[in-house]
C-alpha cells in the first residue's frame, strides 16, 4: 500500500490575533491556498485570506421576490380565477387584502433561502468526509483553538515537512498532516440503495398524507357529523311511555287547511259531503297515484277487494266493484276513507282531503272501467271525448 495522498497540513494557534499575524508570514512564504478554522467568526480573516464577499443577499432577494409573487399569485388565482369568491361585495381581485399573505410568503422563502442556501449552496454542507473533520484537532478548534491549513495546490509540488516547519515558525503547534479524502465513484449498488431510499421516503410521505387527511379523521371519536345522537323517523325511544320516538298529535287535532268531518256515519256523510273536485285527467291521475299507494294493497289495483297479501290476511276488504258501492254517493266513500270502517283504519291523518276526493273520483273511474257498457267502448274506439 502506498501512502495516502496528502490533503494539507494543519496547525493550531492559541488566539485569533496569532492567526491574523501568521497568515501574512505564510503568504510571504509562498503558500497561497490557506484555510482558517475557528470556533467563532473572526473578523479580519476575510481580508487576510482575500475571501470574496458573500453573494447570499442576491439569492435571498430573488427568492423573497419569488415567495411574494407566489403568495400573491396563490391568493389571486384561487380567489379570483379558479373559484371566484364574492365576499361582502368586494371585487374578486381584492389585492389590498392579499398584502399580509404576500409579506409572509416573501419572508418565508427569504429566510429559508438564507439558511439553507448558506448551508447547502455556498458552504457545500452537509459534508462528512472533510479532512479537517476527521483530524485530531477538531474538538480543540470547536472549543478554543484557531487552526490554519496549508492546502496542497493541484498544479504545483507540495512538501508537507516544509509546510509544517513554516507553520511552526509562524507560531503554530500540534501540527498534523491530513490525508486526502477518499472519493469513490458511487457504484450500481449505491444508486440502487439511493433510489430505493427515495422511493421508500415518497411512499411513506404519501401514505402519511393519505392517513392524515383521509383515514385518521374518520376514526372514532373523530367522526364528522355522520354519527349524531338524534331520533330518525320510526325509531323507538324509551323516553316516552309508549316507547315511540315519534309523537302522535293530540286527539282532535285538525291540520291547517283541513275541515273536520262532522257527520257520524257513512250514510249521513253520503248525504252531506259533496265532491269539490272536477273530473279531469289531472285529478284522475292524482287519484290513481294515491289509490295505488294507500288502497291497492288491500283493495287491489282494480278495487276487486282481493288483497295482495293473499290468504294470510284474515280480514275481508270491501269489493269496490260491488253493486252496493257502485250505488252509494261519493260522500259515503269519502267518509269511509277518512274515518275507517270495520277493520279498515282511518286515513284522515295520512291522506289530505283533496287526495281523498281524488281517490273517490278514481274509484268511480275504476268502477266504470269494469263491466263497461258497449257505448263506452265505442267512444273509446273512436277516440271520442263526447263529454
Amino acid at each position: 500500500m502506498s501512502e495516502p495522498a496528502v490533503y494539507g497540513v494543519l496547525a493550531l494557534f492559541p488566539s485569533a490575533e496569532n492567526l491574523l499575524t501568521a497568515i501574512p508570514k505564510l503568504k510571504a512564504g509562498g503558500y497561497s491556498e490557506i484555510d482558517a478554522y475557528t470556533p467563532y467568526p473572526v473578523h479580519g480573516l476575510d481580508e487576510a485570506l482575500d475571501l470574496p464577499k458573500s453573494k447570499l443577499g442576491i439569492l435571498v432577494f430573488l427568492m423573497g421576490a419569488f415567495g411574494a409573487l407566489g403568495a400573491f399569485g396563490l391568493a389571486w388565482w384561487t380567489n379570483a380565477i379558479n373559484y371566484p369568491l364574492l365576499m361582502g361585495g368586494k371585487p374578486y381581485n381584492s389585492w389590498p387584502a392579499w398584502i399580509p399573505v404576500t409579506l409572509e410568503g416573501a419572508i418565508f422563502f427569504g429566510t429559508f433561502t438564507a439558511g439553507l442556501g448558506m448551508l447547502i449552496l455556498f458552504n457545500k454542507l452537509p459534508y462528512f468526509g472533510h479532512p479537517v473533520l476527521g483530524s485530531e484537532a477538531m474538538p480543540d478548534i470547536m472549543r478554543d483553538k484557531f487552526a490554519l491549513l496549508l492546502k496542497k495546490p493541484t498544479d504545483s509540488p507540495f512538501d508537507p515537512d516544509a509546510a509544517a516547519k513554516a507553520l511552526r515558525a509562524a507560531g503554530g503547534d500540534a501540527v498534523e498532516v491530513l490525508p486526502e479524502p477518499i472519493h469513490e465513484k458511487p457504484g450500481a449498488a449505491w444508486w440502487a440503495r439511493t433510489i430505493a431510499a427515495i422511493a421508500a421516503a415518497c411512499l411513506v410521505a404519501a401514505a402519511g398524507t393519505v392517513g392524515a387527511i383521509k383515514i385518521f379523521p374518520t376514526i372514532p371519536p373523530m367522526v364528522n357529523m355522520e354519527n349524531q345522537p338524534r331520533l330518525d323517523p320510526e325509531m323507538p325511544d324509551s323516553f316516552f311511555a309508549d316507547d315511540r320516538g315519534m309523537r302522535m298529535p293530540p286527539d282532535g287535532t285538525v291540520p291547517r287547511g283541513d275541515m273536520p268531518i262532522l257527520s257520524d256515519s257513512p250514510q249521513s256523510g253520503g248525504r252531506s259531503l259533496i265532491n269539490p273536485l272536477p273530473i279531469s285527467a289531472r285529478v284522475l291521475e292524482r287519484g290513481r297515484h294515491m289509490f295505488d299507494l294507500h288502497c291497492a294493497v288491500c283493495h287491489d289495483r282494480l278495487g276487486t277487494g282481493k288483497p295482495w297479501l293473499g290468504s294470510g290476511y284474515q280480514a275481508q276488504p270491501a269489493d269496490l266493484q260491488s253493486s252496493t258501492l257502485r250505488s252509494v254517493p261519493d260522500g259515503y266513500i269519502y267518509w269511509v276513507i277518512s274515518q275507517g270502517y270495520g277493520p279498515m283504519p282511518a286515513h284522515a291523518a295520512d291522506i289530505s282531503p283533496d287526495d281523498r276526493w281524488a281517490i273517490v273520483r278514481y274509484i268511480r273511474a275504476l268502477q266504470r272501467s269494469q263491466d263497461a257498457p258497449e257505448q263506452d267502448v265505442r267512444w273509446h274506439a273512436i277516440g271520442g271525448r263526447k263529454e
Binding site: S15, E17, D35, A36, Y37, T38, P39, Y40, P41, V42, L45, D46, L49, L51, S54, L56, G57, G64, A71, L74, T78, N79, Y83, L85, G88, K90, S94, A97, W98, P100, V101, L103, E104, G105, I107, F108, G110, T111, F112, A114, G115, M118, L119, N123, L125, P126, Y127, F128, H130, V132, L133, P139, M142, R143, D144, I213, F216, P217, P221, N224
Partner: protein
C-alpha cells in the same frame, strides 16, 4: 493586539461577562450540563409540569368528547379562554425574536448570552399558542383545512379574511423561529460532537451539525445568513402580532374596531415577552449557575426594557380611551367604561395596575437588580397581560351593539384546566431544553469573553492607559 473601541464614559457599559471566565471554560460549563445527570430538583420539577400538561390534555379530551358546552363560551361571548390564551402565548413568543434579532441589528452585544434561551421561550410559547386555534376550530383532526391545498371539495380559503392571514403569519413565524434557533445551534452541536462519549449521541450531533468545521469561508456565509435572517425576521415579528390584532380590528365589535390595534398589540406582545423572559432568567441564572454569563447587568437592561414598554402600554391605553371618546359612539364609549367599572371591573383594573403602575417600581436602580422585585414585577406583568387579553376579548364581546344579546362570561373548570395545561406544556419543554440543548450560544459569547479578558490584561499591565480609557481620552 487590536485596539478596543473607546467610548465616552456616559456611553461606556459594564462588562457583559463577569468573574472567572475563559472560552474553554464556557464550553465546559454549558456543554457539561448535557452530559451529566440533572439534579433531583429537575426531576421533581418536570414531574409537576408534566402532570400539569396531562391535566390540560385531559381537559381538552373531555371537552372534545363531551362537547363545547363544557367550556364557558356561548353567544355573545363566542371567543373565550382559548382565544385569550392564544393571543397571550403569541405575545410571550415575541421576546425571543426581539432579543435575538432586533437587538442583533442594533449591535447590542449583551443579547449574545441570552438569545438562545429567549429563542427557546419563543418556540415553546408558539407551540402552546398554536394548540389553541387548533382546538378552537372544533375539529382538531382537520387542521389541514386551514391550508390552501387542492382538495376534493374544490374549495380554497378566503384570502380576504384576517383569520387566514393569521394562519399564514403564525405558521411562518413558528417555522422561521424554529429554523433560526436551529441555525444558531449548528456550531454548538459541532462542539458537542467532539465532546460526547456515546457513539449514538455523537452520530446524532454529527448529523445535526451538518459536518460543520468552522471554516472561515463558512463563517463568512454564516454571518451573512444570520444577518439576513435577522432583517427578515424583524419584519416578521412586527407583522405577526399586527395580523393577530386584525382578527379583532377588522371586525365591527365595539372595542375592537380601532386602527391603533396593530401597534398596540405589537408593543403588548413585546412587553409580555420581555416580562416572561425576565421571569425565566431570574430562575435559570442561579439554578444553572450562569451568573458569570447572564449578569445582573443583563437583568438590569431587560428590566429597563420592561419599564420602557410599560410606559408605552400606558400611552396605548390612554389612546384607546381617547379613540373611544373621539368616536362619539355611545357603545364604544360604554365599552371602555365597562372595562373598569362594569360587571367584571377587576379585569380592567388588574390590567392597568399590573401593566402600568407596578412596573414603575423599576425606576429605582436598586430594584432593577433585585431578584425578588423583578420576579414580582414580571409575574405581575404576565398576569396583567393575560388580563388585558381577557378584557379586550371577553369584555368587548359581552356588550356589543345589540343590548338584547348582552350576556356574561363565566369560565368553567375545563377552561382553567386547558390554561394550566398550556403552562405545563411550556415549562416541560423548557426543562427538557435546559437539559438537552446548549442553553448559551457559545460561539456568540466566546468573542465577548476574549474581549473582556483583553480589557482586563490591558488594565493590569498599563493602569495609566486603562485610566485614560476609563475617562475616554484614548
Amino acid at each position: 493586539m487590536s485596539e478596543a473601541i473607546v467610548l465616552p464614559p456616559e456611553l461606556r457599559l459594564d462588562p457583559i461577562v463577569e468573574g472567572d471566565v475563559s472560552i474553554a471554560g464556557l464550553d465546559q460549563h454549558v456543554l457539561e450540563l448535557i452530559e451529566t445527570k440533572p439534579p433531583r430538583s429537575w426531576y421533581i420539577a418536570i414531574a409537576i409540569t408534566s402532570l400539569m400538561a396531562l391535566l390540560g390534555f385531559s381537559a381538552v379530551g373531555y371537552m372534545i368528547s363531551t362537547g363545547i358546552g363544557t367550556m364557558g363560551n356561548n353567544v355573545p361571548v363566542v371567543w373565550g379562554f382559548l382565544i385569550v390564551n392564544f393571543v397571550f402565548w403569541v405575545g410571550i413568543g415575541h421576546a425571543g425574536t426581539l432579543i435575538s434579532v432586533i437587538l442583533l441589528l442594533f449591535r447590542q452585544r449583551w443579547r449574545n448570552a441570552i438569545c438562545r434561551i429567549a429563542e427557546a421561550v419563543t418556540v415553546f410559547a408558539f407551540i402552546c399558542a398554536m394548540m389553541f386555534p387548533a382546538i378552537h376550530i372544533g375539529r382538531p383532526w382537520l387542521p389541514h383545512w386551514l391550508l390552501p391545498y387542492p382538495n376534493e371539495r374544490d374549495l380554497w380559503p378566503d384570502f380576504r379574511s384576517p383569520l387566514i392571514w393569521d394562519v399564514f403569519a403564525v405558521f411562518t413565524y413558528f417555522s422561521v423561529s424554529v429554523f433560526f434557533w436551529y441555525l444558531g445551534l449548528i456550531p454548538d452541536f459541532a462542539s458537542l460532537r467532539g465532546r460526547v462519549k456515546s457513539k449514538i449521541k455523537r452520530a446524532i450531533f454529527s448529523v445535526l451539525s451538518w459536518g460543520w468545521v468552522g471554516d472561515a469561508r463558512h463563517w463568512l456565509q454564516y454571518e451573512q445568513a444570520y444577518l439576513l435572517l435577522a432583517g427578515l425576521t424583524t419584519t416578521l415579528a412586527l407583522s405577526v402580532h399586527s395580523i393577530v390584532s386584525m382578527d379583532f380590528a377588522a371586525s365591527v365589535v365595539p372595542g375592537w374596531h380601532m386602527t391603533i390595534f396593530p401597534p398596540y398589540f405589537v408593543v403588548g406582545a413585546a412587553f409580555s415577552g420581555f416580562a416572561g423572559v425576565v421571569l425565566v432568567f431570574a430562575f435559570v441564572r442561579t439554578t444553572m449557575k450562569l451568573e458569570n454569563y447572564i449578569t445582573m447587568r443583563h437583568m438590569d437592561l431587560l428590566n429597563k426594557m420592561v419599564l420602557f414598554l410599560s410606559c408605552v402600554m400606558a400611552y396605548a391605553y390612554l389612546m384607546e380611551g381617547f379613540t373611544a371618546w373621539y368616536s362619539s359612539n355611545d357603545f364604544v364609549r360604554y365599552i371602555f367604561v365597562n372595562y373598569v367599572f362594569g360587571d367584571q371591573w377587576w379585569a380592567g383594573c388588574l390590567t392597568i395596575f399590573c401593566n402600568c403602575l407596578l412596573p414603575q417600581l423599576l425606576w429605582v436602580p436598586k430594584f432593577r437588580r433585585s431578584v425578588p422585585i423583578m420576579v414580582l414585577v414580571s409575574s405581575g406583568v404576565t398576569l396583567g397581560m393575560w388580563m388585558e387579553r381577557y378584557t379586550i376579548i371577553i369584555l368587548s364581546l359581552h356588550r356589543d351593539y345589540l343590548p338584547a344579546t348582552w350576556g356574561i362570561y363565566k369560565p368553567t373548570p375545563v377552561d382553567w384546566g386547558i390554561l394550566l395545561g398550556s403552562i405545563g406544556i411550556f415549562l416541560t419543554l423548557l426543562l427538557l431544553f435546559l437539559k438537552n440543548i446548549p442553553l448559551i450560544a457559545a460561539w456568540e459569547v466566546k468573542p465577548d469573553i476574549v474581549q473582556e479578558l483583553a480589557r482586563r490584561r490591558t488594565s493590569a499591565r498599563d493602569p495609566e492607559r486603562a485610566r485614560l480609557m476609563e475617562t475616554g481620552h484614548v
